[in-house]
């Protein structure tokens, strides 16, 4: 077996599915957030794999890699802000359970 693009893509798909599964399953905000991160990293893997397999000696395809860099930077922002929001929520409600935070309704 040689490892081709499709294998990496499948790993990426699985990772994404697991992340989504976690978002559906769990009600703990923190864990949900972690699963979101998993989904994000799945996309990173796919991007790198595409970039690697599509580049040719004459035309090194950097776009995927650079996009990954930006994604990582943005992910850092997102985590910082998200965790700050979670902390604020926790201060307010003393809980991180999504089932108990349903103020969106009001």
């Amino acid at each position: 077996m040689t490892i081709g693009l499709e294998h990496y893509l499948f790993v990426s798909v699985l990772l994404f599915a697991i992340g989504f599964f976690g978002v559906l399953l769990r009600k703990n905000t923190l864990v949900v957030f972690m699963c979101l991160e998993l989904m994000l990293s799945a996309s990173i893997l796919a991007l790198i794999a595409f970039s690697r397999y599509h580049s040719t000696p004459g035309h090194p395809l950097m776009e995927g890699n650079l996009l990954v860099m930006f994604i990582i930077a943005i992910a850092a922002c997102e985590v910082a802000v998200g965790l700050a929001i979670i902390v604020a929520l926790w201060r307010r409600n003393q809980t991180v359970e999504l089932s108990e935070i349903n103020e969106l309704k009001h």
Partner: protein, 634 residues
């Protein structure tokens, strides 16, 4: 080092100093002072080096790309030619002496770190304007200058007046800058470039492409920065800042940036635009001269005098260019406007800086008393300040041959006479008024007997204050003679200034002499030495009231904002509430609300549930994309 590196050094020295001050010396006044003064010194030395040998007088340009946004390439670069060299010299020279003056003047201020940091930032921004080779870069520094001016006007944080004044300066400048920016964008749109050299080539190849609109929009920026007629209101208020700031920014350099900009982009002005420019300048000159009579505050008087002189310069540019267009002879004809205005700008920078610094010295000595009627008799108390101030007055009044103001004003009057007689008459009258109110200032402040406790105990200031005064006084008196300037920068003043010939020459001397001497003598007669009250107010209250009213500009603006604009806003708000919010939004909301009643069941407020809905949507979408739903939809 090549020329570009030297220019870079000149530009970056104050930025580095400002950065260092911001980082390390906010609380350490002496360090801040040293850094800032050092930066000013480096600028002066570097520019002197340029003028005495490094630069051969040919136009030099260096450009590098700063940022590319799609097709728009923003460049930064330097353009050093005769004009910018002269301006560079003024900024570097006057700037250095004012820095030195500030060391003495601000020595008991608590926030010297901030002050000197601001001065350095200002020097940086101003030099940016001077050296910029394209309009975008110029605009960036234009705004930076506005910012540093804002910061320095508001230096006395605890004073309400200063806060108001800085706000006002900032807002009024925004009004002008808006037009400026639009002008730049239109320029870019029309000519496809904002680089000054390229612009000029394009314009010269294709002269009819220039529209009056571009010139007038660009002139908007000048209106704001150089405080021309409708937007002049901020400058007098800006006197709430420390005196060195007034001298450097609001008299010698920043406000002159507008005039400098005119010179830099003169080829973008059509004849109609030049007429507008000239008349704005003339009106500003005369109105400001009239208003100066209604002031008691020494700095305010000087501020109005600055306004008036700026009007002169702008008028000089407009009239000079017109003169060049119509009566021009030789290849320098196009430059007559630049020559006239820049010559006056140069001399004005010297004597106005001198006057402001002199007033600063006086204010400093009188413990921050600014009312001239509470001074008096200071000539004996402060001989150096008094004498140098007197020389400044002579310079601004324009007494023939012994003052710089004479030569430069002369040129402007000459082009006025040649092109536009009403303007000439008004300007000549303004010259008389100038001598009169400056005479009033000098007579009341320095002659006679002290009128207050503070003036009684005034003492000559320290050498850091006096030395700049003396140096600037020398230049104020001799500024009309070319020998005083480095050879490399003489070009503008030696060849570009329109010179009257023959009878005109004599006539000009006559008019100048009469206007200036008459003004000074009249001041002595009307106001009397060291009087305690304003004679004009007691004898001709109506005239004084008109002068003091400043033609109700501030009130009109206030009224406009308070009544017109707010009411307009209220009407729009009402329409908004009725039509958009009422009919459209609410109406739509009603529809949505009906839908919402149905959809409310889905709205549980729990994020997890939404995710499930999202997933359902995803599956649907996937099914559609995969073609599983084709049968159902058909």
């Amino acid at each position: 080092m090549d020329l570009g590196t030297v220019l870079c050094m000149i530009l970056l020295a104050p930025l580095v100093s400002a950065g260092l001050i911001w980082m390390f010396a906010r609380q350490r006044a002496v360090l801040a002072m040293t850094l800032s003064l050092g930066a000013a010194g480096i600028i002066l030395l570097c520019s002197l080096w340029l003028f005495f040998g490094k630069w051969d007088g040919t136009s030099f340009e260096i450009t590098t790309e700063w940022m590319a946004l799609g097709n728009l390439h923003l460049n930064v670069g330097f353009l050093l030619n005769e004009l910018s060299a002269l301006m560079l010299f003024i900024v570097a020279f006057v700037g250095f002496w004012i820095h030195l003056f500030s060391v003495g003047y601000m020595h008991d201020d608590d926030a010297r770190g901030r002050f000197f940091g601001g001065m350095s930032i200002f020097m940086f921004s101003m030099l940016g304007i001077v050296l910029a080779d394209n309009l975008f870069m110029m605009f960036i520094f234009w705004e930076l200058v506005g910012f540093s001016s804002y910061m320095l006007i508001g230096h006395y944080l605890t004073s309400d007046v200063a806060a108001q004044a800085s706000k006002k300066a900032f807002i009024v400048n925004r009004v002008g800058d808006f037009g400026f920016l639009v002008g730049i964008i239109i320029t870019y749109w029309t000519f496809g470039t904002v680089n000054l050299t390229e612009l000029r080539e394009v314009v010269e190849a294709n002269p009819e492409s220039v529209t009056t609109m571009i010139g007038l929009l660009l002139f908007c920026g000048v209106l704001g920065k150089s405080a021309q007629m409708p937007l002049h209101v901020w400058l007098p208020d800006a006197m709430a800042g420390p005196t060195p700031v007034s001298a450097l920014i609001h008299a010698a350099t920043m406000v002159a940036a507008g005039v400098y900009f005119l010179g830099r982009s003169f080829f973008l002005f059509t004849e109609q635009a030049l007429h507008v420019v000239a008349w704005v300048g003339v009106v500003t000159a005369v109105c400001a001269a009239i208003w100066a009579f209604g002031q008691r505050d020494i700095k305010k008087i000087l501020a109005y005098s600055t306004l008036s002189q700026l009007g002169y310069m702008v008028a000089g540019f407009g009239l000079g260019s017109l003169y060049g267009l119509h009566h021009g002879d030789g290849h320098t004809a196009l430059y007559y406007g630049i020559g006239a205005s820049m010559f006056h700008l140069t001399t004005h920078a010297f004597f106005k800086a001198l006057l402001f610094l002199g007033s600063g010295s006086v204010i400093h000595a009188c413990h921050h008393e600014q009312d001239i009627f509470k001074m008096g008799g200071l000539l004996k108390k402060m001989p150096f300040t008094g004498v140098t101030f007197g020389l400044g007055v002579i310079a601004i009044a324009g007494i023939p041959f012994i003052s710089a103001g004479f030569f430069s004003k002369d040129a402007i009057l000459y082009v006025a006479k040649a092109t536009n007689t009403p303007a000439f008459i008004i300007l000549a009258g303004t010259a008389l008024l100038t001598a009169l109110y400056m005479g009033r200032l000098f007579v009341i402040t320095f002659l006679g007997k002290p009128n207050s406790e503070a003036a009684e105990h005034a003492k000559e200031s320290s050498w850091t204050i006096v030395l700049p005064l003396v140096v600037l006084a020398v230049f104020s008196i001799g500024g009309g003679y070319m020998a005083l300037y480095p050879y490399a920068i003489r070009e503008v003043m030696a060849n570009w200034v329109p010179q009257p010939h023959g009878t005109d020459h004599t006539l000009m001397i006559g008019i100048s002499a009469v206007a200036s001497l008459l003004g000074l003598v009249l001041a002595l007669i009307i106001y009397g030495v060291g009087s305690k009250t304003d004679k004009l107010e007691t004898t001709l209250p109506l005239v004084y009231a008109i002068s003091k009213s400043r033609f109700y500009f501030d009130e009109v603006y206030g009224y406009y904002v308070k009544k017109v604009q707010d009411r307009l806003a209220a009407i729009v708000d009402f329409l908004d509430t009725l039509l958009i919010s009422g009919v459209m939004v609410r109406g739509a909301a009603a529809v949505a609300g009906l839908l919402g009643i149905a959809a409310r069941r889905m709205h549980t407020g729990s994020v997890a549930t939404y995710v499930w809905w999202f997933f359902a949507g995803l599956v649907l979408f996937g099914a559609y994309a995969g073609g599983f739903l084709d049968g159902i939809i058909r």
